[in-house]
Structure formats: C-alpha cells, structure tokens
Symmetry: C2
Subunit: 342 residues, 2 copies
C-alpha cells in the first residue's frame, strides 16, 4: 500500500527537523539528480490555463522511479483567502507501474524551490556574498531566506513588498531565527549593496519588478516569480547583460524570463554547471541570472528525500489506493466480496 | 479538505449498488459530457514509456472542474501477480486550483471503460443484437459483459481466451448474474453468430487477434485492447471495410487500431454521434468499429458520478492534502506551529 505524508504529518516532519536542515537535505538530492540529468525522461510541464490561473502536471522518471506533481498557480488567491500555489505529488515504481508514495507538496514545493535557488547561487553567486535583497514577501520568502543561509551563510536580508503586512510577517518569522532583516522602503532601497537579488512576486503580468538601472556588475539574480506565460519580473535588458542559467530550456522558453527573448537566446543549462560540464560564474564582475521556473526533476528529488526521511517513522501513514485482488485477472472479485486490502 | 474514496470504500460502494447500475449511471454522465465535448480542454494523454510498460497522466477540464487520472499499463504484470492496469484520479476546482476529490480508479476505470463501450454500441450496434463474442477474459471482461447487458440487453456471451483459467473465472463470475456464457474453443468459435465482437486483450504487440475473414457484414466491433503505440488487435484490412468511430482523433491516431493507417485515414468522432451531429450505424450491413483507447473526458465523467454518488455517505472519507494557513501569505507559519487542519 502506498505511503502517505499528508499536511499534518508534513508540518510535524518540518517542525521536527527544521526548515534549514531539510532544505539542505533536499538540495543534496537535487544535486545528485542534476548530475545524472541525462538519465531522466523530460517534458515541459502540462499546463491547463484559464483566465484566472493555471493547473499543471509535472511528470518525470528515471529507469527506476516515476514522479509527478499536481500544482496550481492562482495569483488572485491570497486576496480571497487561498494559497497562490498548492500541490501534491506521487512516486511510482517504473517496474510495475504501481504508485508507492503520495505527499502534500505545498510545503514541500516551498522547500524544494528554496533548495534549487540556493543550489544555483552556490555555483553562481560571488563567494564573498553577504547580503540578499528580496523583492516579494509572500509564501516562498522565508524558505528562500533560510535556503540561502543554509547554502551560502547569508544572514542579512533586505526585503521589499508592496504589502507592508507581508513584510512584517517576514520579519516576525525570520528575525527570531537569527537573520538580520531590513524592511526596505522601495525596490531601490532593498537592492542597495545587495550581492544577491531574489525576485519572488505572484502578480501574473509582464511586470518590471526590477529595473535595468538597479543591476550592478557582480550581482547574482535569483528570478523565481517569472514562471508562467505572460508572467515575468525583470526588465528584459537585464537579460542581455547577464549570463542566464536555466533548468530545462524547452520549458523555460515558455515560462521563464527568457519568454521575452527569441527562441535562440543563449542560455546555460544549470545541470551542466552542477555536473562540472560548464563553468559557473566566470568573474567577480559578471552578472549571473538563474531564471528559475521549477522543473519536475526537483520534485522527483524532493519526493525521494521526503520518502527516505519518513520511512519507518511516525510521520508516515498509508493510503489504500491500489486495488490488488489475489488473482490479478479477477478484478471483478473485488466487486462481490468486500475484502479488507490490509 | 478533499474527499477520498479509497479501494476499500470503492469496493463497498460497488457492492452496495451493483456493477450494472453503476455502469449505467456512469454512462449517463459520459453521454452528458460527450454532448458538450467542445467545451472541454483536450490533449492526448501524457505517456512515459519504458521497455516493460507505460505510465500515463490524463488531464481534461471544463470551465468549472479539472480532472486527471494516473494510470499504468504493464502487460507482463499478471504473470508476476500484479494488475495490468492500476489507476487513481483527482478532481479540482478550476476557480482556485484546489483539489476537491481523490479516488482509486482501477475499479472505476473498468466501470467507465465498460460504460463507454456500451454507450458506443447503443448508437452503433444493430438494434436486434443478441449475442456478444468476447476475445480476452482478463480484468475488464466481466465489466464489459455487464455494461452491454445494461445498455443493450445482451445476455448471451461467447468468450475465448488463451488462458482456460481466465475463461473459467469469467464464467464463475458472470453466470450467476443470469448471463448465458459459452466457453469457445477458438476465436473462430467465439465469433460464430455474434452480433457484437469485443476484443480486450493485454498483449503489447501488433497482434491479429481478429482475422479479416471472421468479420461479417452487420457486425459491431468493440476494439478495447488496441490502446497503446505498438499494441493492436485487429487485422488492418478490417479497418478498410468498417466505419471507424473514435474518441479523440489526435490520441487515437497514436494509440488505437488506426495507428496502423495513414494520418488522414477517415474516422468519425463518437461525440458527434452522441450529440446528433453525425449518424451512427447507416444500415444493417455496415460494419462498425469503435476503436476505443480511453479518453480523459470519460474519467472526468466517472469521477463526477462517483463524487455525486458518495457525497454525504459512509463511502466517503477525507484526505488532508491542501495546506491552508490562516494568512494565505504565511505558509511558513505551518512549519513552526503544528496545527491540526481539521
């Protein structure tokens, strides 16, 4: 019977281990999987768009395991009391096609997105980076901040959001954990002196959250919120000056900041940097941009990490999801005998 | 919190209502949804193939609800004690993207496949049809037989399978329900005098389960097992003589019997017959073929029917799958307070 980690157990699991440790653990799994990138079956995610949002399925597999995530994106949700993004995911055994593991992934996605951003920055940000600017104080913001401390030791964050309450919420959550938080008066104020700039906003429009004039040589840009057709955050001129690193080009060209560029716009695949096949940051003056949209392999890694971590613990339950009659050709027998599958 | 119908409750639900009544109920929902076919977001299913099987995701949506099914197909599974096909599915609210309902679908898929076959035959088989030949006595066979009795009153079945135990299993399950079963010695013997021929075998190869010479004028062919690239059941010459009805042409051209034909091979979309936009059977001599592969809208219909049927009953549980903090921008709060979401 497949294992299950529901929301309650996900909360307990995170509370038990702590966000920072789990992001670091998931990051190590993502790095392992990015190194063997070529062994995965990869497609752009399958999106169903409506005027107010998108629902997506993100499958991938290697020769042993299959994973997919269900995830929505509805920018108008918080104003109505809902999460912008909710998600759940499943692992399955490629050998017999049976699902083996199901988990909530609203929280797990926040952990894996932070882990991926932090992994990219480990290879792309200047080694002497000390200060991160964050534009956007929504659901992902605390996870991003803790991910960057775990991977790079960043303990100073300058944050800006158009919603002052969201900034206060960020400070309330993060300051007690020992990170110095500066509430900025504007984007300009936030990026002042920052070595790393993370943009993570939810508005579904071609915005210019970050203006060209604010990007100085040597900065690393972590562009998280430009992740959907028609949803970008950066002044397109920034892309011309930066070296742009992406996850899976066929998906990022549809969804990322580079959707505003031609199809042959030059990018570097992040996995090649992780695998040592392509250099990361070339100089202290280079502007690097991780044009993050989120790719299925990261969810595959996160689900594997969670599964391995909760195996045999109190954080795991079971879900009776696979009909399994004694005679595999006699599925019908289940309709006449009410058997307990346990 | 999303509703859940797990295997145990699916068995209890079917046992409570009976297979035949549920197939008829699901058929009525499929007919409703086929009539409004054009209002659905449709794509061919998303398949991940390996040497021993396939794992697929089948999404579709209208303007209110989104559905997807996870389903595998592993022909070598029964010999190893596993089901060839297992499945589960989810409904979600298009408005906010939240999942609302999850169910096991191994059994539900058997019900909906039979409902779809029976629906097609209601429009395509001769009205005086009395006898069905069935080639293949696997997991789907009893459901097909009961579906045809529910929709057309067929109560005589001539069955053949290369596995005598599977045929005996079929007789053991079906005869007590009042259907006359003849165990045939060969495919030729099975189709003798049959008005309807159902082929439903699991072997993943371009087989000729049914030879050209065995198909007489006026017969309706219900081709269920040719449903995957490289997996067909019919002598390709049969398709030249028959009028071929399909679900979603872009998917059937990849997966159905017509994969052995050119891309412009003429087919009729079944929904147009149901909606009264195209005639069904034209004469008593016509050979009609429903080249069934299974399409996402049928799962959408089956999930809706199940959801409506179990609402407020003992057959429904809940699954804690959507993280929902009080402040939608404060997802992080769930990591520090272990709240019961109930």
């Amino acid at each position: 019977m497949p294992q299950l980690v529901d929301v309650q157990n996900m909360c307990r699991w995170i509370n038990h281990h702590g966000v920072e440790k789990l992001i670091a653990g998931i990051q190590s799994y993502i790095e392992e999987d990015f190194v063997r990138w070529e062994s995965f079956d990869k497609i752009p995610r399958v999106a169903s768009h409506t005027p107010i949002g998108v629902i997506e399925l993100m499958p991938t597999s290697d020769s042993n395991e299959y994973a997919f995530k269900y995830v929505n994106g509805h920018p108008s949700n918080p104003a109505r009391g809902y999460q912008t993004v909710t998600a759940f995911g499943v692992l399955a055994d490629v050998d017999n096609g049976y699902p083996t593991f199901q988990a909530e992934m609203t929280l797990l996605t926040a952990l894996r997105t932070a882990a991926t951003s932090a992994m990219a920055a480990k290879y792309l940000a200047r080694k002497d980076s000390e200060i991160m600017a964050m534009i956007g104080a929504g659901s992902q913001s605390e996870f991003q901040a803790l991910g960057f401390r775990a991977a790079l030791g960043i303990d100073r964050v300058r944050i800006f959001d158009i919603d002052p309450d969201a900034m206060e919420k960020f400070r309330r959550n993060i300051e007690p954990l020992g990170i110095e938080v500066y509430l900025a008066a504007s984007v300009e104020d936030a990026v002042e002196g920052a070595d790393i700039i993370t943009t993570c906003t939810a508005d579904e429009a071609q915005n210019t959250i970050l203006d060209y004039s604010l990007v100085r040589p040597g900065v690393h840009l972590n562009g998280v919120g430009g992740d959907c057709p028609g949803k970008t955050e950066l002044d397109a001129r920034i892309l011309d000056d930066a070296t742009v690193f992406v996850e899976f080009p066929p998906q990022t060209r549809i969804e990322g900041e580079i959707q505003n560029k031609d199809d042959d716009f030059e990018v570097v695949e992040l996995w090649k940097v992780i695998a040592g096949k392509h250099k990361g940051r070339a100089s202290d003056d280079e502007i690097t941009l991780f044009d993050s949209v989120g790719f299925a392999i990261e969810d595959f890694s996160a689900l594997r990490y969670l599964r391995d971590s909760v195996a045999g613990t109190e954080f795991q339950e079971f879900i009776d999801l696979v009909a399994d009659p004694d005679d595999p050709k006699d599925l019908f027998s289940l309709t006449t005998n009410v058997l307990s599958p346990l």
